[in-house]
Amino acid sequence: MAAHVHDGDVVAIEGFTHLISFAAGHEIIRQGRRDLTLARLTPDLVYDQLVAAGCARKLVFSWLGNPGVGSLHAIRRAVETGSLEIEEYSHFGMVGRYAAGAARLPFYPLRSYAGSDLPDANPLIQWVASPYAPADEIAVVPPLNPDVTIIHAQRADAEGNTQVWGLVGVQREAALAAERVIVVVEELVDGDVVRSDPDRTLLPGVAVTAVCVEPYGAHPSFAQGYYDRDNAFYRDWDPISRDPARLDAWLDEWVRGVPDRAAYLAKLDHEVLDALRPGPRPSGSVDYGEYR
C-alpha cells in the first residue's frame, strides 16, 4: 500500500455498500497520507474515517450519508466549516465519470441534471448538442482517472485475476480508469479455480497492479457469502462520529493503535465475526464443456 498511494493522489476505494476495503482505508490512515482527493459514490464510514484522520483535501461523491443510519458527521463538519473541498454529482454521473475514464472518452453523456441545480453547484457538468438533433442537448460529465483505485473482492489468483459475486457496483469501471489498481481479497486461490469459471472475473490480472490477502478486510461492510454487513457497527458509528474527541480516540484505538488488519480482527469480539457468518446458499455449477 505504501508503494502505491502517495500524498496528493486521487484515490478511489470503490464498492457500493458491498466489499468496501476498510483494510486499505485504515492502512492509509496509519501511513499518514495527506492531501488526498477521495472519490467514491457513497463516502461511507471509510471516508468519514479518512477525513477525520486528516488524510483528505477534497471529496468527489454522489451520496453522502451513513446508509440506513443518518449522517457522516466528520465529513459533514468538514464540509460545513469549509475545510474539505467537495465536487458533487449524482450516482449515474459518478458511474459515467469512471466509465469515461476507463474508456479514455473526453466525456460521458447521460440523461440527467436538466432542471436540477447540480450544474450550478458543479460547473464540470456540461451540455453537448446531438448532431442528429441539434436542439437535443444532453448533459455530460468529464472522465475521472484515479491515480489508484482499491477494491475488495472475494478471491483472486496469484496473477491478479479477480473474481466477485453479488453486487459489483462500479468496481470494474473505477479500476480500469485508474493508473494503479490494488485488489484486496478474502482468499487467494489457484489459477485453475479462476479458469474454471471465467464469467465471474471482474478484472483480469493484466489490469491489476497488486493483490493483498486480508480476510474480513471489508468489515464492517460485507462480502457476499463470507460475512454479513455489521449493521450494529454502522449504527454505533453515529455517536462516535458526532463527537470529534471520541472519534479521535476511536482512530487511536482501532486504527493507529494496531499495526495491521490482523490486530484489528484480534481486537474484535470473536462473537461479532461469528454472528456475521451466513448459512450456505450455493450457486450450483454450470458446464462450460471440454472441447478437444
Binding site: F16, T17, H18, L41, T42, F61, S62, W63, L64, G65, P67, G68, S71, R76, V79, E80, G82, E88, Y89, S90, H91, F92, V95, A99, L110, R111, S112, Y113, A114, G115, S116, D117, L118, D120, A121, D136, G166, L167, V168, G169, V170, R172, E173, S221, F222, Q224, G225, D228, R229, N231, Y234, P278, R281
Partner: protein, 225 residues
C-alpha cells in the same frame, strides 16, 4: 389500535404500486412500502435496487440498499452502469420512489443542503440516484414527512426536478412524466395538468386544516373532474 404515521405512509405508498411491474427502490420508507406492496397488492412487482439487484426477495427487511439478503435469491445482479443506463435511463422503470427533506408545489425535491450551497446550515446527503430517477422513471412517487419545514414555498436547492424549475424552466421534452403522487403522514397528493401539487385525500382522522397547517403554501384542492 390505530396505525402509526409511518404505517399510514407505508400503506398509502404501497397502494400506489397496484398493478405496477417495476419499481426502483431507495431505502427507508420506500423500501418498506415496496416490500409491503409486493406481499399484498402488487404480487408481480419486481423490486429494483440502485445497488444493482433486480427481483429481490429479501428474507428480512434490509437495513441498507446494499444488504446481502437482497442478492441471495434475486433474479439478476448487474453493474450500476448497466442498471442506470439500460434500465433506468432506458425507460424500463415504471415507478421511482423518492424521499426528500424539502418539496415545493411543483414537486421539486431537495436532498442536498439547507441554506446556501456554498455555506450550508445543514449538509444533506445529496442526489444519489435521485436526480436521474426523477427524470427517467416513468413516474415518481414521493414519500416524505410533512411539516412547514418540508413543504416549502421554494426549496433551498433543486436536487431532483419536478414539473418546472422555481425559475420557470419547464421539464425537458425527453424526460418522463415526473412526480405523480406525494405521500405524507397526513395525506396523499397528486399533480394538476399544470404540474402543481393538489390534495387528493387526507388520511383517516386528518382534517384539511391539519394539511394546510403543515405547508408553507396554500395547497390546491383537486378539481372535481
Amino acid at each position: 389500535m390505530s396505525a402509526t404515521p409511518d404505517e399510514l405512509m407505508i400503506a398509502a405508498a404501497a397502494a400506489e404500486l397496484v398493478g405496477v411491474r417495476t419499481v426502483f427502490v431507495g431505502i427507508g420508507l420506500p423500501n418498506a412500502a415496496a416490500n409491503l406492496a409486493r406481499q399484498t397488492v402488487a404480487p408481480d412487482l419486481e423490486l429494483i435496487y440502485e445497488s444493482g439487484v433486480i427481483g429481490s426477495r429479501p428474507t428480512r427487511l434490509p437495513d441498507s440498499i446494499g444488504d446481502p439478503a437482497l442478492v441471495s435469491g434475486a433474479t439478476a445482479t448487474m453493474s450500476m452502469h448497466d442498471l442506470f443506463a439500460y434500465f433506468l435511463q432506458g425507460g424500463r422503470i415504471e415507478v421511482g420512489m423518492l424521499g426528500a427533506a424539502q418539496i415545493d408545489r411543483w414537486g421539486n425535491l431537495n436532498t442536498t443542503v439547507i441554506g446556501p450551497y456554498e455555506h450550508p446550515t445543514t449538509r444533506l446527503p445529496g442526489s444519489g440516484g435521485a436526480c436521474e430517477i426523477a427524470l427517467n422513471a416513468a413516474r415518481v412517487v414521493i414519500v416524505m414527512n410533512q411539516t412547514r419545514r418540508t413543504f416549502v414555498e421554494q426549496v433551498d436547492f433543486v436536487t431532483s426536478p419536478g414539473h418546472r424549475h422555481p425559475e420557470g424552466t419547464p421539464r425537458p421534452a425527453w424526460a418522463s412524466a415526473g412526480p405523480t403522487s406525494v405521500i405524507t403522514q397526513l395525506a396523499t397528493y397528486r399533480f394538476g395538468a399544470d404540474g402543481e401539487m393538489e390534495l387528493a385525500a387526507p388520511h383517516d382522522g386528518v382534517s384539511e386544516a391539519d394539511v394546510d397547517a403543515a405547508s408553507c403554501w396554500p395547497i390546491r384542492r383537486a378539481s372535481s373532474t
